[in-house]
């Protein structure tokens, strides 16, 4: 019987890895489109160079969080130089766990920063 996957060793996920997993959560993408989407989403604050992008992709692939997809788009949309990547079930589990972790942190921060409620007389 297959053992249940535990995402805990992957957490906390490096920010770039998290961004890549978020990109792939919706649909399969190639490296360059991942880079473009991250740049657009972060307003240009994260501009991944080829070394950083494919370094991160290599680590995520080795960790089994993403994998190469054998499905290609229509031939007129396809770029032969690119490979497409998709999220694995383990990757999805890690993404969810990381999102939950971040959510908890955000909630905690919001609780601390929230203005004190006035006392009832």
């Amino acid at each position: 019987m297959k053992q249940r996957f535990d995402p805990a060793p992957f957490l906390p996920l490096p920010h770039v890895h998290f961004e890549i997993l978020v990109c792939l959560a919706e649909h399969e993408q190639h490296g360059y489109s991942i880079k473009r989407e991250i740049a657009v989403r972060t307003g240009g604050s994260i501009e991944l160079g080829p070394g950083s992008l494919y370094g991160a992709i290599r680590k995520l692939t080795e960790g089994g969080l993403i994998e190469e997809s054998d499905q290609r788009p229509e031939s007129h949309l396809d770029d032969e130089r690119r490979r497409y990547y998709r999220l694995t079930p383990d990757g999805r589990a890690v993404l969810k766990a990381e999102a939950a972790r971040l959510r908890t942190l955000v909630e905690l921060a919001e609780t601390r920063f929230a203005p004190a409620r006035p006392r009832r007389a």
Binding site: H30, G31, Y32, K35, E47, L48, G49, P50, G51, S52, L53, Y54, G55, I57, R58, D79, R81, R82, R83
Partner: protein, 814 residues
């Protein structure tokens, strides 16, 4: 251009990253680059800045991850056999430590540029002494003036006079030598009563206080005032206590100069020869580099010899490490084969092996640093401070960042060499062959490499052992040579220059009457340096050393007459008889024979013609053989002794008592040669001890090699050994079986050791063993030691194999 440049930059990523993602990275770069080009120049510049930053960071991190992984794997491997690895690391640390010290000494004293050489090499007019050492040659002021006027190769020419306590130096020389006062200032040319004091006087009399400046100091009848004080200098060729401006009446002194830019030493020498030969007189001097002053060539030989011996031991350590790695690789051949079969490149396998050996050598390097610092510190504390400071470059010998860098460079060298060869050999094999071959077929994948490594170990260890035994035996032989024993039973008696001839005659008569044979000589090692002088023979000019000796000098053991005979006491004063004796080596160089004329040339232009009475083969009278080749003996005629010595057979106390009784007012200096022999013997013991230390390390490393070879052989042939044991084969039988397998590489190694030893003996030096007997005996002893050592190691290995689990089980089953 930019895409091409990025393609080249990609080459620095690890091969697996390149193979997997290189195409996509290049594609992304092209798309981004096109976009940047559309935006303009600034965008392109920013793009490249971004790319360079990304590239630098990711290349370093990719390699760091691989090295980290390899190091973790290497650490795991090393931990499996902690004791052998720990012993080897400690041994390697000792080897690295002595190598760092040896190379630092040789480099800083013999090779590195000195501070005063930054504007060009400094040279001086030198006199060759003691078969190669150099000393200042005093010349007349006219020589310095001629050089100043006519030299086109020399600049900053300075004329320096004085004695060891007080030196007359033009102020410019301080700048030439790169010396600056620690307190006060340098005197001016016209300040005749101002002096600068040296570091020894400043420390001993004034305790390094600034209050010394302005104080008066009396020298003889004259009073000077101190204007400056020198601190310890990196190089102080004069070692004087008092430095003053040269007085106008200074007639004789030494010449110091700097080579003009672009001028070679040879050009300066040729110019000096032309000037000297054009003059009426003959100055027996040569232009020589200042850094060689006071440095005996024996020092060069010892420094290079020690550095060479240590380096051979380092090579031996590398070979032993290679052997260990090869054994490791044999054990892991399935792992390596699987990696290769899965697509790992040969470079990746080599890189992993090199990382593993580098881990061992770097650990040894770290451990070696404290002992290196201690050894260099011991050199400084164990040498005479003031004498050592006159040796150019000595003060720069210290434990510093450069020494640490050198140690790690040696680690890098050893790690790369030891890791590369076995890994390359293994990675060259077909992975499927390796997967199919078990330990029994390990010889198929290692090929001849294991035999070669064994031969190299024997050759290198044999060479070092030979050097240690040969120099040890040669030292003993020299120590007990008849002429050195004579030297041991003799004292030298120097009389003051003011001693009247009648006093000298009186002393000699008294000594002879009480049975002490007395000889007058200026020859080393009994007297001062023989005088250097020019002479003409066969139409050529030579610089020779002329020793004044009385006739009895040739009775010292060891002189062999090639032809002719010495003069007698009665003939010494007759001008019509041949009375010059020359050394055989000089006779051969100049093509002279007994009865030929010899013309001597004085600096003042005076020529004297003499006839050669005999040619003699000169013995080496002290342990180091300090006779120059071009040596001429002339008779000492009765008169004041001057710089000559009286050589008296007998004990120091008796001689002193007789001289005191003969003339209580006579000032004498009696030197006991036994003390000097002991001193020389100590230096020799130092050389031999260094070589034996290297030999001990070599033997220990050879033990590592033997143990590795036996462990591999008995593992590979475990079944065969077990079967032999089960069928009644004893340890002796196993020993014969193992010896048969190893005799070829051992014989080859021994042959290489003999060839290397012969080459070592061919290096010309007056320290090398002379004759044939000592080297042959040393070779036999070294080879016998290695043979005994290996036989014992094989015996222990055979006993262990007999008691191995496989052998025991087979015996029980039987």
């Amino acid at each position: 251009m930019s895409p091409w440049l990025y393609s080249q930059m990609l080459a620095l990523y690890p091969a697996e990253v390149r193979r997997e993602y290189g195409r996509e990275m290049r594609a992304q770069f092209l798309d981004d680059w096109r976009e940047a080009c559309r935006r303009g120049l600034l965008a392109r510049l920013l793009f490249w800045f971004h790319i360079a930053r990304d590239w630098g960071r990711t290349v370093a991190s990719a390699h760091g991850e691989i090295v980290g992984g390899d190091l973790a794997a290497a650490w795991g491997n090393l931990r499996r056999r902690p004791w052998p690895v720990a012993a080897f690391v400690l041994l390697l640390a000792a080897v690295l430590s002595i190598n760092s010290v040896g190379i630092t000494l040789a480099n800083r004293i013999l090779l590195s540029a000195l501070p005063f050489e930054s504007r060009g090499s400094l040279v001086f007019l030198a006199e060759w002494r003691e078969a190669g050492s150099l000393a200042w040659l005093p010349v007349s002021r006219a020589v310095a003036d001629t050089l100043r006027l006519r030299s086109r190769t020399l600049t900053d020419i300075a004329f320096v006079g004085g004695d060891p306590q007080r030196v007359f130096v033009p102020p410019g020389v301080f700048d030439t030598l790169g010396m600056k006062p620690a307190a006060g200032r340098i005197y001016r040319e016209d300040e005749s009563d101002a002096v600068v004091i040296g570091p020894r006087l400043w420390q001993s009399r004034y305790r390094g206080s600034y209050a010394a400046i302005g104080q008066s100091i009396r020298l003889g009848t004259r009073e000077y005032h101190i204007v400056g004080a020198l601190a310890e200098q990196p190089f102080d060729p004069f070692g004087a206590d008092i430095w003053a401006a040269p007085p106008p009446e200074l007639a004789y002194g030494i010449v110091l100069a700097r080579l003009r830019p672009g001028v070679s030493l040879q050009q300066a020498r040729e110019e000096w020869d032309a000037l000297r030969n054009g003059a009426s007189g003959y100055w027996p001097a040569e232009i020589a580099p200042l850094r060689r002053v006071f440095r005996d060539p024996v020092f060069d030989y010892i420094a290079w010899g020690a550095a060479g011996a240590f380096f051979v031991v380092l090579l031996l350590a590398c070979v032993s490490l290679m052997s260990l790695q090869l054994g490791q690789a044999v054990r892991r051949q399935r792992d390596i084969a699987i990696r290769l079969a899965m697509g790992a490149s040969r470079a990746r396998i080599v890189r992993f092996a090199v990382t593993e050996t580098m881990a061992v050598t770097l650990l040894a390097g770290l451990l070696s640093l404290p002992s290196t610092a201690l050894l260099i510190g011991a050199f400084h504390s164990g040498t005479d401070h003031w004498a050592a400071h006159r040796l150019a470059g000595w003060t720069s010998v210290r434990f510093d960042a450069a020494t640490v860098a050198l140690t790690f460079a040696l680690c890098l060298f050893a790690g790369c060499l030891a890791g590369f060869v076995p890994a390359w050999k293994f990675a060259s094999n077909d992975p499927w062959t390796m997967l199919n071959s078990g330990p029994l077929n390990a010889a198929r994948v290692t090929g001849m490499l294991r035999s070669w490594l064994l031969s190299a170990q024997i050759a290198l260890a044999g060479l070092i052992l030979f050097a240690a035994v040969a120099f040890d035996r040669e030292g003993v032989r020299r120590f007990h040579a008849p002429q050195v024993r004579y030297f041991d039973s003799t004292v030298s008696l120097e009389l003051s220059d003011t001693a009247r001839p009648v006093s000298v005659r009186n002393v000699v008569q008294r000594l002879e009457a009480s049975g002490h044979r007395t000889i007058v000589t200026s020859a080393r090692p009994f007297g001062q340096e023989p005088m250097a002088i020019g002479c003409e023979a066969g139409g050529k000019r030579y610089t020779v050393q002329m020793a004044r000796v009385s006739a009895g000098f040739f009775n010292i053991p060891g002189f062999q007459w090639v032809t002719g005979r010495p003069w007698t006491e009665s003939e010494a004063t007759r001008a019509d008889l041949p009375r010059v004796v020359i050394a055989e080596a000089f006779a051969r160089d100049a093509g002279l024979k007994a009865g030929d004329s010899l013309v001597t040339l004085n600096p003042n232009g005076r020529r004297m013609t003499d006839r050669i009475a005999g040619i003699v083969r000169v013995p080496r009278l002290d342990m180091y053989g300090v006779w120059p080749r071009q040596l001429v003996f002339v008779p000492w005629q009765h008169g004041p002794l001057g710089g000559d010595s009286l050589l008296v057979e007998g004990k120091r106390a008796e001689v002193e008592a007789i001289v005191r009784a003969a003339d209580p007012t006579l000032k004498t200096y009696v030197q006991d040669f036994a003390f000097r022999i002991r001193e020389n013997g100590l230096v020799w013991i130092g050389i031999v001890a260094t070589l034996w230390a290297a030999a001990l390390m070599a033997l220990s490393l050879a033990l590592v090699g033997a143990a590795t070879w036996m462990s591999q052989t008995f593992t590979e042939h475990g079944l065969e050994v077990a079967l032999r044991c089960a069928t009644g084969c004893r340890a002796r039988g196993l020993w014969t079986w193992a010896a048969r397998r190893v005799w070829r590489p051992l014989t080859l190694g021994a042959g290489a050791a003999v060839a290397g030893s012969a080459l070592l003996m061919a290096i010309p030096s007056r320290l090398s063993p002379r004759g044939v007997l000592t080297p042959v005996a040393a070779g036999c002893i070294a080879l016998s030691l290695l043979a005994i050592f290996w036989s014992l190691a094989l015996w222990v290995g055979s006993l262990r194999a007999m008691s191995g689990p496989q052998s025991r089980r087979l015996r029980v089953d039987n």
